[in-house]
Subunit: 418 residues, 2 copies
């Protein structure tokens, strides 16, 4: 079968399965999630054996250590997938939820009902656990999905897909509700992102290059997750203890994540008070500092930041620091250089806190909290399929409700329009 | 200036004005809406005179009578625009609204704040009143807009734009918050729908051809308003009086609108009881009927419907009728041939009403009400910029909140992630 025919057939099956899922009761969806968890547990050895093939090819192909680490499936990884499935099963079902039902002057009753999007195409890189996480979120939200994992994880993903299929069937659902693309041919991605008859939305998870390429070529709406150039602004009225602990946490809690701080902005009135001590803490943790002229005058051996630094998502133990004249300069810097992902102010000033919340145009805006909180689990969404940097549809962490849509429902008693 | 430079300069100005609007207080936005209304009233003669130029060119160019009628601006049309502005001023401001603020176990407080999208590009055909309606909705929702009306209404639109600009300035807002493209060159549309740095969303209003072309060529998200192939299904347990009045209203209240019924589905158990009388009512109103074999056997001189009829949005006094064996066949027909716009069931059966609401995948799904209610004003949105047939972002009538997005806000007290 050629790639086009193969993908079309996956699409057709997904559409059919999506229709079934959209009207499947919550209890059955939960039973399927738990059955999948059982299948993964019962097939632990098979999964590790299949994953071993991928790891071996990774070694043979000279995959770097970090990627190999993300690829390898250990007992702990399987336990994590099982726990993830159980958590999604425990979440409330968003489908069918009815909001804001009101009577209108005409006598009709109008509200909105949450419904699945239909079929979701997910494209991701090496980590095989994404296969389970993505399938679980799509299933619970009543969507069929077509999954395209990295070619380096193909054996692992096929093995996981077998477990998912068995779990679905045990709950009486079509195995085609979750389909893993079984070819590593790149043409399959090109088909997936243009089959608008069969796929309603594409979620790419991975590096910036992958996401930009897919957004450009897709003819189907894409929920994008682009860079996180996140800022913390320490205002003149900041509590210094809070400022230091937030600035340290936002940068050093984890480096390779999109909600880590990349630029610290400090009000000039307390720069000399806070920066020397703070920089010592960063250096203890091995963070390289790059600062504006003023910063460099306050911190010994600080490299001068260049224009490019303000625009860079380091994803590494590097931090750029700028001393600003006040609130307006801080907000201007954030709106200019930031990526509208997550930005925080540290202040005890009521008016500035309120203004920051309103004026900073980012998917998460925070007062006196670390940017590291920008996360579906921390926000109570239960799990996330990504963090959207788009403004339309879903913005910020995308959980179950981001995979649904609202339709209007109207109840009447023979009402006609006058 | 060439078209690219001209459009880029509109874009840059819109982006700047959008930043101002996004933090403008409700009172000032309302004052601007009312000042625009005053300017339109005070410049009534000028507007009619400029519109006269468009009408004359329309006549010279052989525009058909219906289009000329939509183009012509009379006192009543200006009064309608003024009233529209007053209504939008009276609506609650969606911007800044905070939802679902909750405390999380970590101690942070998380919620969502409604924010403007930024800059909205609107492309529409002949009716000049759209210029005012669109500007009003964008302004109230805190968005700047760039408007591209039909070339046949260019003088009218420029004159209206002057009034809008004066009204904005009187309220202390930048006149560039609403910009009308002052060239009729079609290349301007190509620029508008690809300036992703300056425009956040495109709303095309017009025929299917226009919308399909724009969706295909745009690199910016498009809120689409495609066909309305709307159905009414009269179930075996329908109240016959309600069924007749809904079926008559849904088809004959207005013909050229997207929420008019195009196909009537009737349960076979009451087809012979209801169709003869109903068809007489349709014929009284001059509606041409096209039916399935069964329908033709019950109605004298009924033309046989062909496959194409079930797929057609007539927008005219034509109705296709099909007798179905039951609920499942009706839903299958709707999901197969419908355009996911608006569909209704007439039934007194509780279980089927509930199933219809859940299983029909349309932007509006109704029980015992006419499809003609699918409208922003009837739903209490106050006004609408269109009816979205998309599933992502906004679905169904798009009012002020459809022109906004939700960002997460997080309030802490020095909280850091553990």
């Amino acid at each position: 079968m050629n790639i086009t025919d193969y993908m079309q057939s996956l699409g057709r099956e997904a559409r059919k399965a999506g229709r079934v899922l959209s009207r499947t009761e919550t209890g059955i969806k939960n039973a399927a999630l738990l059955a999948i968890a059982e299948e993964l547990e019962n097939n632990r050895e098979y999964l590790i054996q299949q994953n071993g093939k991928d790891v071996q090819s990774g070694i043979d192909n000279g995959l770097d250590a970090a990627l190999l680490d993300r690829l390898e499936l250990k007992d702990k990884g399987i336990a994590g997938m099982v726990e993830g499935l159980q958590q999604v099963a425990a979440l409330p079902d968003p489908v069918g939820e009815i909001n804001d039902m009101t009577y209108r002057p005409s006598g009709i009753q109008v509200g909105q009902m949450r419904v699945p999007l239909g079929v979701i195409g997910i494209i991701y890189e090496s980590r095989p656990n994404v296969t389970v996480d993505a399938a679980a979120l799509c299933l619970k939200s009543g969507n069929a999905c077509i999954l395209r994992g990295g070619s380096e994880a193909i054996h692992s993903n096929k093995a996981i897909a077998e477990c998912i299929g068995k779990g679905l069937e045990r709950a009486g659902l079509p195995a085609t509700a979750v389909q893993v693309i079984e070819t590593t041919d790149r043409a399959a991605v090109g088909e997936l992102i243009t089959m608008s008859d069969f796929v309603d939305v594409i979620v790419p998870r991975g590096g910036k290059g992958l996401i930009e390429r897919i957004s450009k070529e897709a003819t189907i709406p894409v929920i994008k997750h682009l860079d996180g150039i996140c800022h913390v602004y320490i205002d003149s009225e900041a509590d210094l203890d809070k400022a230091v602990s937030i600035a340290v946490n936002a940068k050093t809690h984890r480096y390779g994540v999109c909600n880590a701080m990349e630029t610290l902005l400090v009000h000039e009135s307390l720069a000399s008070q806070i920066l020397p001590g703070l920089s010592a803490k960063y250096r203890e943790k091995g963070v390289e500092l790059r600062g504006c002229l003023k910063t460099c005058s306050l911190i010994p051996n600080c490299q001068r930041a260049v224009e490019e630094d303000w625009q860079t998502e380091y994803l590494a133990p590097i931090l750029s620091i700028k001393v600003v004249a006040g609130f307006d300069e801080a907000v201007e810097h954030i709106n200019r250089y930031g990526s509208a992902h997550t930005d925080a102010i540290v202040t005890e000033n009521y008016t500035l806190a309120r203004r920051f919340l309103r004026e900073v145009d980012s998917s998460s805006v925070m007062v006196n909290a670390s940017t590291r909180f920008a996360d579906g689990f921390e926000y109570g969404l239960g799990a996330e399929i990504g963090i959207s940097t788009d403004k339309l549809h879903a913005r910020g962490p995308v959980g179950l409700s981001g995979l649904t849509s609202l339709k209007y429902i109207v109840l009447g008693d023979g009402h006609v329009r006058q």
